[in-house]
Structures are given as structure tokens and as C-alpha cells.
């Protein structure tokens, strides 16, 4: 597994853990309250911090193990294949994110509820990041 492939996996894992944390709290609080809870700054911050901590620690640990000289010699630390795969994955992320944001905004016309809108946008961020990581991992292992 290459340096960037491993980093992608770690960032995807960070998004997954952060997402599970955020939505498990939202669902748990909503079930207790009997209705969808309003967004909490601290839960949202917890999601961001958790995602960043997993990603930064994982990348730092991976970078310590990797032969850094190989990557330092290349522009941006990537070679042509890394760049191509990343661009494809970022394209996929853009499509998924715009689609989900469109759905979140369209939902407003049926339920003009800021809590639904906020949670939907968080879901769009998490799912698009997972789509990016998944497509990047898939692209590293497919023939093209």
C-alpha cells in the first residue's frame, strides 16, 4: 500500500469515526427528546476534533514509517498516478457533495426546519468525504 493510499484510508477512517460519533449522539438525543434535536456546537466541534485527530495522528504515524525521500523528490509529494487518482476522487467527491447539498436544500421546501438542514449538511460533508476516500482506494486498485 502506497503512502497516499494509506493516508486516504486513514482520512476516510477519521470521517467514518467522526460521522458515527456525531450521528449516534444526534440519534440518541433525538430519541430521548422525542423529536429531532437542534444542532449543538459542542457535538459539531467534537466531530471536527475527532476527525482531525484520527487523520493527523494516522498521517503522522504513516509518514514516520514511510521512505520520505521518495516522495520529497516529487512535486507536491505525488507522482503522476497519485495525482490522477486524487483528481478522479476529488471529482467524485464534488458530484456526491453537490447532489447531497441539493437534496438537503430541496428538503427545506417540505420541512422548513433548520435542524434538518444542518444535520443534512453534516451528512453531506461526511458522505462526500467517504465517497472520495472510497473512490480513491478503488482507483488505486483498478486498471485504467
Amino acid at each position: 500500500m502506497s503512502f497516499w493510499e494509506r493516508n486516504t484510508l486513514i482520512i476516510g477512517l477519521g470521517s467514518f469515526i467522526g460521522g458515527v460519533f456525531y450521528f449516534s449522539i444526534v440519534i440518541w438525543q433525538s430519541l430521548a427528546a422525542g423529536s429531532l434535536v437542534t444542532p449543538s456546537f459542542w457535538v459539531w466541534l467534537g466531530y471536527i476534533v475527532l476527525q482531525l485527530c484520527v487523520s493527523i495522528f494516522g498521517m503522522w504515524f504513516g509518514a514516520k514509517r514511510e521512505l520520505k525521500d521518495e516522495f520529497m523528490a516529487m512535486p507536491g509529494g505525488e507522482d503522476e498516478r497519485d495525482r490522477l487518482v486524487r483528481m478522479k476522487a476529488e471529482g467524485m467527491q464534488g458530484h456526491v457533495m453537490s447532489g447531497l447539498i441539493f437534496v438537503a436544500m430541496a428538503t427545506w421546501f417540505w420541512h422548513a426546519n433548520t435542524a434538518i438542514l444542518f444535520h443534512s449538511l453534516v451528512a453531506a460533508l461526511i458522505l462526500s468525504e467517504l465517497a472520495r476516500a472510497g473512490w480513491q482506494m478503488f482507483s488505486y486498485n483498478r486498471a485504467y
Binding site: S2, E70, A73, E80, R81, A143, Y144
Partner: protein
């Protein structure tokens, strides 16, 4: 499963014929990672024209001695 590109190559064969040159050494010569050399040898990735020329130059052969077209 994605269809493999119709480009064949003799990179592994030429690398081994060149004093058992390692994948890392070839990667360093052409400016890519070892994983990319592995992907090229396995036919999973078709290198850019620039890298293809660099590979041919490392082995001291022409481009068509390294790469071939297996399609119609």
C-alpha cells in the same frame, strides 16, 4: 471489474535483464513511486508519454521495444 487498457509492456522483463534492477531503482530513475512501477508492470496503469520515454531511455531501447498495443 474494469477492463484493462490494451497497452502491453515488457518493463519487468527489461528490468530483470538489466542486472536485476530493482523496482525502487527504476522508480527513482523515472520519477515515480515503486507502487506505480508495480502497477505499470501488472498492466494496471498506463504511464504518461513522458514516463514511457523515460523508461525506454533507462533501458536504452526504443519506445515500441517496451510498450505494445494489444487492441484493435
Amino acid at each position: 471489474m474494469a477492463k484493462r487498457p490494451p497497452i502491453t509492456n515488457r518493463v519487468k522483463e527489461l528490468r530483470e535483464a538489466k542486472d536485476q534492477m530493482s523496482q525502487s531503482a527504476l522508480a527513482k530513475e523515472i520519477g515515480v513511486t515503486r507502487q506505480t512501477v508495480i502497477a505499470i508492470e501488472q498492466g494496471k496503469y498506463s504511464p504518461s508519454l513522458e514516463s514511457a520515454f523515460r523508461i525506454a531511455r533507462v533501458f536504452g531501447v526504443g519506445l515500441e521495444d517496451v510498450f505494445g498495443w494489444d487492441g484493435h
